[in-house]
Amino acid sequence: MSKENNHIDDLFKDAFDNWENEPQKDFWSDIAEDLDANDVDHLFKTALEEEEIMPSEKVWEGVKEHLPLNLWLKRRLAQLSYVAGILVVGMLATLYFTQEGTIEAPVADTPKYNIEIAIEEVPLEEIDLEENIALEEKAANDSKTLATDNTIDKKMKSVELNKEDEMVFDIDEEKIKAILQPIEPLPIDSSIARVNGNSNETDHENSSEEAILPKNLEDILPDNLEEDFEEN
């Protein structure tokens, strides 16, 4: 075994003992270049490292404007403002989260009114057309004058709320009386008067004031006629 190893060693020794090989052409140029590069570095480093050149005076003027008065005070103020900022944010966050859910939106406590307007039905025969036309014209004139008035107070004069939250209408009573005249009895038809046998005595003027139905006629007329009449 050892003889074989010695043989291999001798083999390689003989092969490489006097072996020579030419280096590549640019091998030396690379080394030379590297040396030159180091020269360049050294040249500039020694020349410029300790160089001192006076700057212009305007540099100091510019620096002076930004100089701090006291660094210690500046640092403390910065720290204080930082802490104060954190405290303010913390307080705001606490306030926000503690009051969240308990705050209710304010609801206006306004009274509710149920206004019912009763309209009394008036038979067409009872309405004085001329008078109604005159009233309508007057109301139209009133509304025109109201529209031209710019003040809100005057517009609100018609409706006012008293302390008991009751609605009071400021309406001219005479106008209401004029509209709601007492219901006059209907004029008795001449044919009905004739049934009673006093055709001469019954004229339209008298019958309208005192119209009395004959007793025997009640049996003839339908039951609800009288109720309708009274309602009218």
């Binding site: 030379a32 500039f44 020349a47 410029l48 212009s56 540099v59 620096v63 210690w72």
Partner: protein, 185 residues
């Protein structure tokens, strides 16, 4: 207040730094006038021109005065200030290359020249001008690697580029400088 002259014999002590922190204007001005020339030279290496360098210098000193209390005294105060100014220069570089890509030179320069002869002729001012003529990417990497002593890993982290890009930028910066030196011979 009378302008304080630049005095090299002035010695920076802890008391001066404490006075600056307390807001003493005289101490602040003394500190500025003591370090401004050295810091201005650094800014000039990273900037295109004097105006750009003065902008970096002003911004850097404002940072220094506003963060003086953060200096713990672990290393030298000048080293701490240099880092502030280099970082400020890097910020300016980042702003300027937001929409600007690294200049890509297809053919790398293979210039072999003897720079020693050039050294004899060139002044520091000339060398500084040569550095300023480099594209901003080349210039920044060259300054950080060759002069400040940053590694490619640190440069890649600072500038947000890959290590390979940093290496190629440095090689191209050197090649350009070699070519410029040769042309000056």
């Amino acid at each position: 207040m009378a302008e304080l002259s630049y005095n090299k014999s002035w010695v920076l002590t802890d008391n001066v730094i404490q006075d600056c922190i307390a807001g003493n204007r005289t101490s602040q001005e003394r500190l500025y006038r003591y370090f401004a020339p050295r810091m201005y030279a650094i800014c000039l290496r990273y900037a295109n021109d004097r105006q750009g360098a003065e902008d970096i210098l002003q911004e850097g000193f404002i940072k220094v005065f506003n963060n003086l209390d953060k200096f713990r005294g672990d290393g030298s105060f000048e080293g701490w200030m240099k880092r502030v100014f280099v970082n400020t220069s890097i910020e300016h570089y980042r702003k300027s290359v937001v929409n600007q890509r690294f200049v890509d030179i297809e053919s790398a320069y293979h210039v072999s020249c003897k720079t020693e002869s050039a050294v004899e002729k060139l002044s520091r001012k000339d060398l500084l001008r040569l550095v300023q003529q480099l594209p901003i990417g080349y210039r920044t990497v060259f300054n950080l690697y060759a002069i400040e002593g940053f590694t490619h890993r640190e440069i890649s982290a600072q500038l947000g580029i890959s290590e390979g890009t940093s290496k190629s930028q440095l090689a191209r910066a050197r090649a350009m400088l070699q070519k410029m030196l040769k042309s000056l011979k």
